[in-house]
């Protein structure tokens, strides 16, 4: 895909729209990444962490009960929820933390929405003896209190961000501000395929292990490629990781599932492709939910991890070129999928991942029984149990 990626661009999307103070830092990062990504020692070290620390490769599990019940295509789940720390986020974090360490950085900062990226960053920092500070929207610290405590257990400082909407975008704002004030010893471990170049490329590369494994496992199991690969999309890192190795396989349909909140036709939504338009924000040219004057919209989703007003630039490009399609999934549909997968397969998915499961539930019955859908199950749902109970009108307490 190198031809589509020119100076950090995916078509017209991407770029480096950041304060001058950070320019040398991103240039230095790009240089270091280009040096280490082909370095056999670096690759071997990261591979060792993937296998022996994160638990890769993750399983590709055929959800037979689910497939039978839905009565259409066969559904396979890529079990990123079984990774150490419970989501795909660890793939990117191990890569970036190792890179930062090689660059001589001693401190990691990160933004987090649902807390999964924060937990993964805190974990890598603990393992690699680095200092760690995680920025998290105030509202998110409340709806994901368990992950806040996990990060603190891992030795990280969690800084709640109360500006703006108190959610993921505000956490990104504050992490960027923090990075401008302390660069020399600090690496900003960005959690998704977003932000200024080279982050969308680096995060995608470290996450692309997902799609590579899907392809290999599918060929081993079925001797063929899947018909559909789908994943939930906030910034889009798990989707990009799952899609990337299939972009050249035109027969494989790629579907991103966005958080529609209360509906893509309501203001309470985070469905960027459905409701946003081209703009420039958080260092990148991409698609954003915004008003006519370019003010970033206060988006909403039940899922803190998808509650983001933009999408990574490579997704914007995949959308614009028609290579991938993006569908909105509401809170209610996601919660139903969350409950359905738990009951049907004994797998409690992250509410983020449940958005992809929800669309698979719609799509599978419309497809023939010999067709194959792979759903990237990006994370596990333990962190969401209390919030889903609340959504269903139950207040869980340990008393």
């Amino acid at each position: 895909m190198s031809e589509q990626q020119f100076h950090g661009r995916f078509g017209e999307f991407g770029g480096q729209y950041i304060p001058e103070t950070l320019m040398n830092a991103v240039l230095e990062l790009e240089e270091a990444y280009n040096r280490y990504k082909n370095d056999p020692a670096f690759i071997a070290e990261l591979d060792d962490l993937f296998r022996n620390y994160a638990g890769r490769p993750s399983l590709l599990y055929e959800a037979k009960k689910l497939s039978r019940d839905l009565g259409g295509a066969r559904i396979f789940l890529k079990r990123e929820d079984l990774n150490h720390t419970g989501s795909h986020k660890i793939n990117n974090v191990l890569g970036q933390a190792l890179l930062a360490k090689k660059m001589g950085k001693t401190r990691l900062i990160a933004e987090t929405g649902a807390g999964q990226h924060g937990v993964a960053t805190a974990t890598a920092a603990a393992l690699l003896d680095m200092e760690c500070e995680v920025f998290m929207g105030k509202l998110d610290t409340e709806r994901q209190a368990l992950n806040v405590y996990r990060m603190r257990l891992l030795g990280a400082t969690v800084t709640p961000v109360s500006s703006g909407t108190g959610t993921l975008k505000d956490a990104v704002n504050q992490a960027m501000r923090e990075w401008t004030s302390r660069i020399a010893d600090t690496h900003y471990c960005l959690g998704s395929v977003m932000g200024p170049h080279p982050f969308p490329m680096i995060v995608r590369d470290f996450q692309s292990v997902i799609g590579k494994e899907i392809k290999q496992q599918m060929l081993e199991k079925e001797g063929r490629l899947p018909d559909v690969v789908m994943a939930c999309v906030g910034g889009g890192s798990n989707a990009m990781g799952a899609f990337y190795d299939f972009i050249g396989d035109k027969e494989v349909e790629l579907i991103g599932c966005e958080a529609a909140g209360e509906g893509a036709d309501t203001p309470r939504t985070a469905a960027t492709v459905a409701t946003g338009r081209e703009g420039i924000f958080h260092g990148m040219k991409s698609l954003f939910c915004q008003d006519e004057e370019g003010q970033i919209a206060p988006v909403y989703s039940i899922s803190a991890g998808l509650d983001y007003p933009g999408i990574g630039p490579e997704h914007a490009w995949l959308f614009k070129t028609g290579r991938a399609r993006y569908v909105p999934v509401t809170d209610e549909e996601a919660v139903q999928a969350f409950e359905y997968l738990s009951r049907e397969e004994g797998v409690i998915p992250a509410i983020e991942s449940a958005h992809a499961v929800a669309y698979a539930m719609k799509l599978a019955p419309t497809m023939d029984k010999d067709r194959i859908i792979v759903v990237n199950l990006s994370g596990r749902g333990d962190k969401d149990v209390a919030a889903i109970a609340r959504y269903r009108g139950e207040d869980l307490r340990d008393e």
Partner: protein
């Protein structure tokens, strides 16, 4: 209004400019109009007007809150342009520039935005999220309309200073410190070294901003460069006094201007 030019700001007896920043529409546009005239009368040589934005990533808490107040009070780009036009008609003749993130310009339409800048008397733009490599986003339209893009250099710019200064227009914004805008008790960056690099590449005026709050700091920074930019400290007064801020802001800007002009 074509006679108003950014270089006018650097044509005092000592060539040093006192540059004042306020967030447009904070606490409301009527107050903004009054502030523009009163800051000019108090001795400001150039005024920066922040276009309020939902997510100002280069700003510290003081200006973030000003952005929130202005948006809550209903400030839009069109209304801000109208107020600036009123202020110009009311006698504001110092050069003025916007501080705005790039997305509002792009969404408003760069061509339409610059046309309005010409019509209302805005001479330049400071766009904190548009570094050297990305200025092509609006550079052609700006050039066509004679609206200067004010480039920034930071303590981390090092080898980039020469190339940025070499292509800079209007004046060069020298970011004094790491981090976001806001008052600082001391500035530890080697400003002199940064200015030396600028001078090697260009004779463009260079003014220092970020963290300047006292007349002494303003004097010191203007002595080392061509001017001092003060933002958060003024915005703090606006926050404290609301619509009654004209007097306190005037007195404060006067003390800064006297310090800068008295070098």
């Amino acid at each position: 209004m074509s006679e108003i030019q950014i270089k006018n700001a650097f044509r005092n007896k000592n060539g040093k400019a006192m540059i004042a920043f306020i967030t447009g529409g904070d606490p409301d546009l009527a107050t903004t109009e009054k502030l523009l005239l009163s800051m000019q009368e108090a001795g400001a040589d150039l005024i920066e007007i922040g276009i309020p934005f939902s997510d100002p990533i280069a700003e510290g808490p003081v200006i973030q809150e000003a952005n929130e107040r202005a948006l809550a009070a209903g400030c839009t780009i069109d209304r801000l342009f109208d107020s600036i036009k009123n202020a110009r008609a009311g006698g504001v003749s110092v050069p003025m520039v916007f501080l705005t993130y790039v997305n509002p310009i792009v969404q408003y339409g760069a061509e339409r935005f610059m046309t309005r800048c010409n019509e209302c008397g805005m001479q330049g733009l400071i766009v904190p999220d548009l570094p050297f490599e990305e200025k092509g986003e609006i550079a052609d339209v700006c050039r066509k309309h004679g609206v200067d893009i004010i480039s920034m250099i930071a303590p981390t710019s090092e080898d980039r200073i020469r190339k940025i200064a070499g292509e800079a227009t209007g004046f060069l914004y020298v970011v004094s410190s790491l981090g976001v805008t806001g008052v600082r008790t001391s500035i530890t960056t080697d400003i002199d070294a940064m200015i030396r690099l600028v001078r090697e590449a260009s004779d463009i005026p260079a003014a220092v901003g970020f963290g300047i709050a006292t007349p002494e700091q303003a004097r010191d920074m203007a002595k080392r460069s061509d001017g001092a930019i003060v933002g958060s400290a003024i915005v703090k007064l606006v926050a404290k006094h609301g619509r009654e801020c004209i007097g306190p802001v005037s007195d404060y800007v006067k003390s800064l201007a006297e310090a800068v002009h008295g070098i």
